[in-house]
């Protein structure tokens, strides 16, 4: 387990980046102590706006700040940003193309204590369907920190999906981060595991386990769900013939859906999905337990990889 929670990595980085970029302003919806935008708020109180428990208003205020030439980072719980404020995001951020950055914390199942009301398992599907939106999911705290300046300096709407919790390390510190360009974390020729967010570290463990059984799994980190790195995925499809998509999200419309679209359009290959089945999850004692209980265990990735291999056409 990486020492830092993903929100911690993000919160510290945002605060540090505030020193470099005076155009950055930060908003929160009475969750600063949770999202850890509080670090920025303590350092730059004049550039921090707490809007109260009103995510739609927060997104609209951010759109106005962006129209005024500033670079607002909107912080809130992913469940609320992606559902309650979705109309504001669609109309006033995407359609109006305001330079608003949505830092959506507590995504996936990471708010394990509060349960399905606070889980965000459909946000990738909702956000990636919006024209003009870029969707990024860091795999661990170190990566979350590295995205802050990239997202701030990119001109346009971004949904940065963040976890409340720590994740297994992705080990990608040596690789450059670029919007829309996936990372190859492990080479392999039998099957490809394309993972995002907290499932990246789990997929690396799954690849270890598969290797012990003589199966060489390639591991791709797809940090940008949109725009999707179709080239990387199609190359993996051509070279390994079978893929697994792994995400802390519903199996409907998230990374798995995006990969399926890419495969169907340009490079047909077997695809198995690891994600939360079409159901609401439950409260649990810790994030790992909840993830394991709802289809996201390392063993689920291993099983999906074996299924994908078994379905692969002969001769591949």
């Amino acid at each position: 387990m990486s020492a830092l929670a993903i929100r911690e990595g993000y919160g510290r980085a945002l605060s540090d980046y505030g020193e470099i970029n005076p155009r950055v302003v930060v908003l929160d919806a009475d969750t600063a102590a949770s999202t850890l935008s509080s670090y920025f708020a303590e350092r730059f109180p004049d550039r921090f706006y707490n809007i109260g428990i009103a995510e739609p208003c927060m997104v609209d205020v951010a759109a106005g700040l962006a129209l005024g030439g500033l670079t607002p980072f909107v912080n809130g719980f992913a469940a609320l940003l992606s559902l309650r404020a979705l109309e504001q995001i669609r109309t006033c951020v995407c359609y109006a193309r305001t330079n608003v950055k949505l830092a959506a914390s507590y995504a996936g199942l990471s708010d394990f204590k509060d349960g399905p009301t606070h889980h965000a398992i459909t946000d990738i599907a909702l956000l990636r369907a919006l024209p003009e939106m870029t969707v990024i999911v860091p795999a661990d705290a170190a990566e979350a920190a590295r995205w802050v300046p990239i997202v701030a300096e990119y001109e346009g709407p971004v949904y940065l999906r963040l976890s409340r919790d720590a994740a297994l390390p992705a080990g990608n510190e040596h690789l450059p981060l670029e919007i829309g360009r996936g990372l190859t974390l492990r080479e392999g020729s039998d099957v490809t595991i394309a993972a995002t967010g907290a499932m990246v570290g789990r997929s690396l463990l799954a690849a270890d386990e598969l290797a012990r059984a003589g199966i060489l799994a390639r591991v791709l980190e797809i940090h940008t769900i949109k725009p999707l790195d179709r080239e990387l995925i199609c190359r993996a499809a051509a070279e390994t013939g079978a893929l697994v998509a792994a995400e802390e999200h519903s199996i409907i419309g998230g990374l798995g859906g995006a990969v399926a679209e890419a495969l169907a359009a340009g490079c047909p290959a077997v695809l198995e999905q690891v994600g939360i089945p079409d159901c609401f999850a439950r409260t649990g004692p810790d994030p790992e337990t909840v993830m394991d209980a709802f289809g996201l265990a390392v063993s689920d990735i291993v099983a999906a990889s074996r299924r994908a291999l078994a379905r692969k056409p002969r001769g591949r």
């Binding site: 809007i51 205020v61 700040l65 129209l67």
Partner: protein, 285 residues
């Protein structure tokens, strides 16, 4: 409640010029809606004096520099009244008046509802109701943060404020003491399905805004002297945002449209347009 000063410091010449502008905007709106066969006449006509006062007197804007950072900002939160905004922008010189004839065509920069990325002079995209105040708060805060003196104006419809986002924005405007924000409510008491007071009553409305810590000015929105004085008074109020509650008549100036929800969102045919033009009176151009 604050009442605007009754002094007559706006000249008769200005008042009659703006009255003429308002008449032009009414005619242009109806002609545009007729030509396109779509649009919202009622809420365009009710806002004619307000739009004339803003675009031909109050707003500090420059058609040659639509992106000038220090310009006043205007958000048509009731974006369905786009006809009168486009008519005003064209007459103010932001784009050729001939463009109005192509409103709604696929290749035209004039969308059904205002689009800031396509139309010069449109400060913010709108159409789905309710967003204006909260966006205006952001613009007001950005002005303060950057030490710019511009003012943000938001024109809302009355049916619009039935939505909760308006009141979220109202809370935020008061919290941040957005004195550089002026909201104007086109209170014509008619919405798509009928009378506002039947569909979802707003009264006591002045009390509501006061309870939200706004300065409230109540005027007759068709009386240009009152409109101008309220717009000026709002600039003198410190420490809180101002809303001008402008009592208006939906479809103002056309007898068969006035107060009729049926004319919220349909286009007049040729005969109806001809009668409307007669009633409004041809412009002395």
């Amino acid at each position: 409640m604050m009442t605007p000063p009754s002094s007559a410091y706006h000249s008769e010449a200005l008042l009659s010029e703006l009255a003429e502008r308002a008449r032009e905007l009414r005619l242009a709106s109806l002609e545009m809606i007729h030509r396109r066969g779509a649009g919202h006449p009622g809420g365009s006509l009710s806002a004619a004096e307000i739009m004339a006062a803003l675009f031909f007197h109050k707003l500090n804007i420059d058609p040659a520099r639509p992106d000038w950072p220090e310009r006043d900002r205007f958000i048509l939160s009731k974006g369905h009244a786009s006809a009168i905004l486009y008519a005003a922008l064209a007459r103010r010189g932001f784009f050729p008046r001939a463009d109005l004839e192509h409103w709604g065509e696929l290749a035209c920069h004039l969308q059904g509802h205002p689009d800031r990325l396509k139309t010069p002079g449109v400060d913010m995209t709108s159409g789905l109701l309710g967003h204006g105040i909260a966006i205006g708060v952001g613009l007001a805060l950005a002005a303060r943060r950057q030490g710019l003196g511009y003012r943000t104006y938001v024109l809302m419809g009355d049916g619009e404020i039935q939505g909760g986002i308006v009141w979220e924005g109202a809370l935020a405007a008061a919290k941040f003491r957005a004195a550089n924000l002026t909201a104007i409510l086109d209170y014509n008491d008619v919405q798509l399905d009928g009378s506002v007071h039947d569909i979802m009553p707003l009264e006591p409305l002045i009390d509501k805004w006061r309870a939200f810590n706004w300065a409230v000015l109540e005027i007759n929105g068709h009386n240009l002297r009152q409109v101008l004085e309220a717009l000026d008074t709002a600039c003198e109020i410190h420490g809180r945002p101002t809303i001008i509650v402008a009592h208006t008549t939906k479809g103002k100036g056309v007898s068969f449209m006035e107060g009729r929800s049926a004319w919220h969102g349909i286009a007049p045919n040729a005969a109806q347009l001809a009668q409307a033009v007669t009633e409004i009176g041809r412009c002395a151009e």
